[in-house]
């Protein structure tokens, strides 16, 4: 029983088995040196009273209470259970619990196994284990606050979206001018075409293209934008994209006026016969130029991508992603538990078996698949089952991370039980039925524990 994060010095007897921690039961001598049954009962009495009143009696009470209505006076038979499986709200909670049970235990166990294997290969394994294990000591309430901050939608505040947008912007430019549109009219050279801005007629080199844009949110005009400059004629196909709007009025529509600014960062394409022949980007003064373009007639197009909002990450706390987001927080909390248990299990695997297989020519992967995993399977099962039980009971994380407006979408059985009984629902009949449902869901694992305990103690 000397298990530590910095690696067991002695492979612990417990690591592979789970509950049977002590040595096997010592055989009792038949001679009755021990105390009388009365003494035994005296030692057990406080525990028996507490367990009887606070745990066993409530099970019976809930079972009966679940057959009555909200007031507790009208007998409704299995009515509350029918409600659970017909009401769309409670069905959502069951569906969510199902998602939890299917995804979370697998992710936690797999990650724990990967971490346990990888920590054997680094020198700072103790530090790593401490860091990953640390969330276990933190309340789920605090973990919830931590992840509310991580999942904040604004990429300037929420870490998750800050990372996503940074990664996204590294691979794709996303300087967008949403809502912007061309100034159309007879005198305008360009028109809107399915969200893109194209020249109405084909243009040629030496014939500057004027692309007047309006409807740009002033805050989205980059700080480096310079006053627009009408392009000089000659020297290849060129033009200007600018904000055709003079603040305070004045200025001429469709003409580059002195106080109007160019729109930098616009993608401009020269199109011939439906093919993009060249691409350019507008400069700070809004001008663009296609260098080295063969002479000929082209259509100039500003593709739709210019007019889309820049990428802002994901709505983690919205109705669609809320459950995966909370599962992410759950994994963060529990991966350390899985890792530590599995690392202890790994340490208990005899080195000889692994070495023998390696000497026989097995690859590392074969050793892992054929020897490590099978020898580890009792611990894997313990971790996996523990996680299933935890996901069935999950409450705090959902309650804290899901904003009130999306709680119906994120709801789980344990939370719904609290909600209908104490959180304003005021229906303790339905609440009792939900509690019984939870008990029924963990029942198989209860039986499993009893069986395992009996097997290991006979």
């Amino acid at each position: 029983m000397t298990e530590r994060l910095d690696g067991p010095k002695v492979p612990p007897a417990v690591s592979a088995g789970g509950p049977a921690t002590g040595p096997a039961e010592t055989p009792r001598t038949k001679q009755r040196l021990g105390p009388s049954a009365a003494v035994a009962i005296a030692f057990l009495l406080p525990a028996a009273l507490l367990l009887g009143i606070w745990v066993v009696y409530p099970i019976v009470y809930s079972l009966i209470r679940s057959l009555f209505d909200a007031n507790g006076t009208g007998f409704v038979g299995l009515g509350n259970y029918t409600t659970i499986f017909t009401d769309s709200g409670t069905l959502t909670t069951i569906r969510n619990n199902l998602i939890w049970v299917v995804i979370a235990p697998i992710v936690v166990t797999t990650l724990g196994l990967i971490f346990a294997v990888l920590t054997e290969r680094i020198k700072w394994a103790t530090a790593f284990k401490l860091i990953v294990f640390m969330p276990m000591a933190v309340s789920l309430m605090a973990a919830g606050v931590i992840f509310r901050l991580v999942y904040e939608e604004n990429p300037d505040k929420g870490l998750a979206n800050a990372i996503l947008t940074t990664v996204h912007d590294t691979f794709a430019s996303s300087q967008g001018y949403p809502e912007a549109r061309p100034r159309e009219g007879d005198q305008s050279q360009v028109a809107d075409q399915n969200g893109a801005v194209v020249t109405k007629q084909a243009v040629q080199a030496g014939q500057p293209v004027l692309v007047p844009i309006v409807g740009v949110n002033p805050q989205l005009v980059p700080a480096n934008a310079q006053p627009a400059k009408a392009p000089a004629a000659g020297g290849g196909l060129s033009g200007t994209v600018w904000l055709d709007f003079t603040r305070g009025g004045g200025g001429q529509s469709g003409a580059v006026d002195p106080s109007e600014t160019g729109l930098p960062g616009m993608t401009v394409e020269a199109v011939q016969n439906g093919q993009v022949a060249a691409t350019a980007t507008t400069a700070e003064d809004g001008s663009f130029r296609f260098d080295g373009l063969p002479a000929g007639s082209y259509t100039v197009r500003l593709p739709q991508s210019n007019f889309q909002a820049s990428y802002g990450g994901l709505t983690w706390l919205g109705p669609t992603l809320i459950t995966p987001a909370i599962i992410g927080a759950f994994v963060w909390v529990w991966a350390g538990f899985a890792m530590v248990l599995l690392a202890a299990g790994l340490a208990a695997i005899p080195r000889d078996a692994l070495e023998a297989a390696r000497i026989d020519g097995a690859t590392e992967w074969q050793v892992f698949r054929k020897i490590t995993v099978p020898l580890l399977s009792p611990v894997l099962l313990v971790v996996f089952v523990t996680m299933i039980i935890n996901t069935l009971k999950v409450f705090d994380l959902v309650f804290i991370i899901a904003p009130a407006s999306v709680q119906p979408q994120a709801n789980v059985v344990a939370l719904e039980m609290w909600r209908v009984s104490f959180g304003g629902g005021n229906n303790q009949g339905l609440g009792s039925a939900l509690a019984i449902l939870l008990l029924v869901l963990v029942l198989p694992f209860m039986i499993m524990n009893i069986r395992r305990f009996r097997r290991e103690n006979t």
């Binding site: 525990a47 680094i122 276990m136 505040k157 530590v340 313990v382 039980m417 009996r454």
Partner: protein
């Protein structure tokens, strides 16, 4: 994990696998990749908590304007103002309530479970094995099952909302794990020690206090730390059974969640204070913590 494949011997050789220069390079690169991955993973686990700490040390205005990671360029913005503001608020009372709930619970669970564990391990009485199987079964009973019945019980007896009510609920639900853990440890105490004491005519109580309890210290330490953290971090039981006057930190902070965004200052500093003591305990006693977890991983 598969990087070492290249080093596998190719068949007939026996003895230590021959390692060529190439395979050594592959190994070195592989271990470099592992290092990088592990550093990234470590950051992944560390950074969210770090974020909470930084947010708790900046004003609401600064937090609304920019992400906490800008602290690396503007460390001067850090302040303990939020923590000072907490001192006068309802948070302080809730901090003491947490302690008032946690400490008695832990002591009671240890005492009561040690007695029961000793009885299960070393005393003969009819139905012992069946009774212990009940304890094993109760290990994973969801606490939801008892919320409604115990609430009506407390309502009838007038302790609803009080700290003793919260404590007793915690003790009852802590017992199955505690009895299970201690019984399994006590069973391993050498029989000769107990027989000798019994021969000498020591009473069972004396044996329990002066032999079993001292010998059980490692297991009791594991149980103690585990139980302490479990109660300290609980929110559900507090939500149902503690009234506003007696509420622990978790319930106090939960009541602040509704205005998340406008009061990140209270939430972040409060949440951070609530996890300071668990973290200190965790780092100081991680050995016992892990032991307890190992022994009770069925829970």
């Amino acid at each position: 994990m598969t990087t070492a494949t290249a080093t596998a011997p190719t068949g007939l050789e026996t003895g230590a696998p021959r390692r060529g220069v190439l395979s050594k390079i592959v190994d070195r690169l592989g271990s470099g990749a592992v290092q990088v991955i592990m550093v990234l993973l470590g950051l992944f686990w560390l950074v969210p908590t770090l974020g909470l700490l930084v947010v708790s040390m900046r004003t609401t205005k600064v937090n609304n304007a920019e992400g906490w990671w800008t602290v690396f360029t503007k460390p001067a913005e850090l302040t303990i103002q939020n923590y000072q503001n907490l001192l006068g608020s309802g948070f302080t009372a809730s901090f003491w309530n947490t302690a008032l709930i946690t400490v008695p619970t832990t002591v009671l669970v240890i005492g009561i479970a040690a007695m029961a564990g000793y009885a299960f391990a070393w005393m003969d009485f009819p139905g012992r094995d069946a009774a212990f199987l009940v304890v094993v079964a109760l290990l994973i009973v969801p606490i939801q099952i008892a919320l409604i019945p115990v609430a009506s019980l407390y309502g009838a007896s007038g302790i609803f909302g009080s700290i003793p009510g919260v404590v007793l609920f915690h003790v009852a639900f802590g017992l199955p794990f505690a009895i299970f853990l201690l019984r399994n440890f006590f069973v391993g105490i050498p029989a000769s020690l107990l027989e000798a004491a019994r021969m000498d005519g020591a009473s069972e109580w004396k044996i329990f206090v002066s032999v079993v309890f001292p010998l059980g210290k490692p297991a009791i330490a594991s149980l103690g730390i585990f139980q302490f953290l479990w109660v300290w971090n609980d929110m559900l039981i507090a939500l149902v059974f503690a009234n506003t006057e007696n509420q622990p930190m978790t319930k106090y902070l939960q009541s602040q969640m509704r205005q998340f965004g406008s009061n990140v200052d209270i939430l972040s500093s409060g949440a951070f204070l609530s996890l300071i003591i668990p973290l200190i305990l965790f780092f100081a006693f991680q050995r016992y913590f892990v032991q307890g977890m190992m022994a009770g991983s069925v829970k």
